[in-house]
Symmetry: none
Subunit: 209 residues, 4 copies
DNA sequence: AATGAATGAGTTTTCATTCAT
DNA sequence: GATGAATGAAAACTCATTCAT
């Protein structure tokens, strides 16, 4: 990703500083509204230095994207490895995503508002991360079906998109309502609420076939 | 919106032609990647003429956005007025959204990929359409709760976001997989699948409290 | 060459105005030292307009180059068609080149100082003009050999380069000595001098084998 | 020229290594296309180190230029000191120039393609070398005239430019045709050919006045 | 209404040069 | 001597928008 992957502390630090600044500025102004000089100013460095660590403005976005999805994939694998009940896995996943927002709402804003924006951005390399993540969510749903706790007739892939789409839309709501800081209680409550809704459905049980 | 609201046939036609061209080009290149001259070329007119009908490039996007959400709101109001069962209302809404994709995937692509992404775009005027639509979806959920067919403890607003987010994420999947043409069967099937999943939940009934 | 080859007077004029400005600025500052904004200022237009007529700064240089060599080739063909004595043809060619300097020293400066120097500039398309011109000069030499007035053993190609190289180096001398304006007498004198030297050689006749 | 003129072996070596690298890179990419970092990479050193030995990129070019013309001047003085026949002196000079190309075509390419390019480059200091060399060539011609072996009426300065220009144009031909390696036979042949042409002229003797 | 020439602000990126280590 | 991180000036080029015709 970045030119310098030396294990020098400085180099790592600077990379991180620039990325954090980029997240902040992208969140505030949007990817296209953000100038590289804004990012440099936010990072407290000369803007030429951004190009020592990254080849282009777009690479910054790609780097943020990759970090985030790689991290999400790691968490999903960890959750799956736990061998808990599938319902619990779903809750854990939702909890992780909502907590990500709490911990770094700007990063989530960038992911939702900017990454998806550039069609050109979705090249094969980047889209793979996407796919991998959804494969894992789908896997959780299938595990529930195999265990007999989730409906058989549900299309697991559809369910995966539904779960993720629900989470993302709620976070978009927070973003648009400028809810940058959100309490742990609210996060927990949102997690419970959405998990219950998705697992049990809107309709009351007897309606079920 | 547009400078000319004369009811001259020509004027209306040209407005429509430009908007359709804009949808096409925005879908292909993204809002920021699209040049006004591209849109004019697609519409088969001189690019200066775009400014006879619209004040700016952004106004094109806003116009598309408004048309779409106004239309969605109309449909939601129509659905609510039907006084059918809330479950059926949910299904109708999902069906409408998926059919919108079938009829004009580029328009949906623009709505998902471009509109949601420009922070600056969400001014008070535009956000009202958003809010109105979600208020209506929320209303449907509340009607179900009042009728005793939906769970009481569900936060209706959350549910509204979950439903819409699920739909949008599935359509994003279609977009990213380049599924520009999709059969009516697939649409119907997707509608059934998602409606059932959202209404009945993932988990099998006895798990319900 | 230019985007607009319409036969509108304005369009042609503007193209010419920009090219003349480019010649002036390239001559003054060199190709790399010249800013497109300098050229626009010299032409009295907004610099964005340069890009209406030419795709890039480099295209300006290529255009100047082409015009000049095409013109030179035309003159050579005209000279050859005259069916004069080969010696006279050589004189005419030298006369033309020196007079070109007199009429537009900046253009010659650009040709000598800038065009010849950009290695990347010599792509196949551009080099063809070069080659064509030298083929014609070579042809004149060969005509003299066939007529029996020029030495048989001389390599005609070498001779062609020698003639042209001599002319160009003398003009470079004028450029470096800042002799921007030069009288017709000087031009005629230089033509005679160089023609005689090249035709008769440095050495006095009896030395000839 | 260079900051360090210590006679330490290392220092001299490194200076030479950098200059050779610069010649190579300038020949490949042109002066303006060459990055200091390219030169450093070619030399196998850190690019900051270039600035220990040279004050600027331009100084590299000036250094190459000076070395070459100083060397040429030395050779011319040596030739003149030999007190041979002027015809032979001309031949020796041409031979030296052509052999320079054979020995280091990149250096000649830089001299022809890059040095002349930057008008700013021709400051008084640099132009003096030029002038000195041409003064010496002119001197040879004048010696021939005084000895009665060269035509009196020839302008010696013109003749000097003609000779040098012929040589340079032939070498430019080799450069443009990518003739990087050239046999000693070809060099000798070219030398004979050009010397004969310049001394005896194109035209056959009886045409002489 | 229609055209497209004209405008010029705005931004990414490059790269020579400096300097702390 | 050697390194390469850091600096920031500089410029080509783009393109939304205006406007004369």
């Amino acid at each position: 990703m970045n030119k310098k992957n030396t294990n020098s502390e400085d180099s790592i630090d600077k990379t991180k500083v620039i990325l954090d600044a980029a997240i902040q500025v992208f969140a505030d102004k949007g990817y296209f509204g953000a100038r590289v000089s804004d990012i440099a100013k936010e990072a407290g460095i000369a803007y030429g230095l951004v190009y020592h660590y990254f080849n282009s403005k777009e690479e910054l976005l790609i780097s943020i994207f990759k970090t985030r999805w790689t991290n999400f994939i790691d968490v999903l694998e960890y959750i799956i490895a736990s061998e808990e009940e599938p319902q619990e896995m779903i809750r854990k996943m939702i909890s992780f995503l909502f907590n990500s927002y709490k911990n770094n709402p700007s990063m989530i804003e960038v992911m939702i508002m900017d990454v998806a924006k550039t069609s050109r951005f979705f090249n094969d390399e980047n889209i793979r991360h996407f796919k991998d993540a959804f494969r894992l969510i789908t896997k959780i749903v299938k595990m529930g079906q195999e265990k007999g706790v989730f409906h058989q007739q549900t299309d697991a892939t559809f369910a995966a998109y539904a779960i993720y789409g629900s989470v993302e839309r709620i976070m978009l709501h927070w973003i648009l309502d400028d809810m940058k800081s959100i309490s742990q209680d609210e996060i927990n409550n949102a997690t419970d609420m959405l998990t219950t809704t998705l697992l049990n459905g809107l309709a009351i049980c007897p309606k079920n076939s």
